[in-house]
Amino acid sequence: MTEQQAVHDWITKTIAANDVVLFMKGTSQFPQCGFSAQVAQILNHLGVNYKDVNVLEDMGIREGIKTYSNWPTIPQLYVKGEFIGGCDIVREMFQQGELQQLLDDKGISYDKRSAVV
């Protein structure tokens, strides 16, 4: 198994084992990039329970997540194993209420009182 395959396998397992996963620079409490911070802030605001993966701690994951999803940038949000988007898409979905709808559809609990933009 190549190193990239090993990383892709790890990503597949991680997004299967956690309903909501955010690959980001930094952590949910200490983001280290403005784009990652925006998505973490939206998820924190909604009160979604999510796993944060700090790509700055692992060069293999930092590069591997880009080939995994064919997406050139970080952050990347996954819900129930599905790639939802990066910062621009997540923000647009949140502003239009689509992110909240997606969480509802996937049966993921969040703080509904905070869902109003």
Partner: protein
Amino acid sequence: MPMDAKEIERLIKASIPDAEVSIRDLAGDGDHYAAHVVSSAFVGKTRVQQHQMVYEALGGRMGDVLHALALTTSPRKD
């Protein structure tokens, strides 16, 4: 390394010929852009797929020389 807005537009249109591209230079430094792209090629595609088409048009520059391109896309409704 900054990238010219005209070059971003040219690359997108080379790959998505009917694209309407509007680009704002957010910080006036030639390095932080917001682009909105409208095309009939986006019809029936998810947002992720629409953005992937634009990133593909930019040929690997996104996340590299283009660190800060905020992107929104819309399918053209005729």
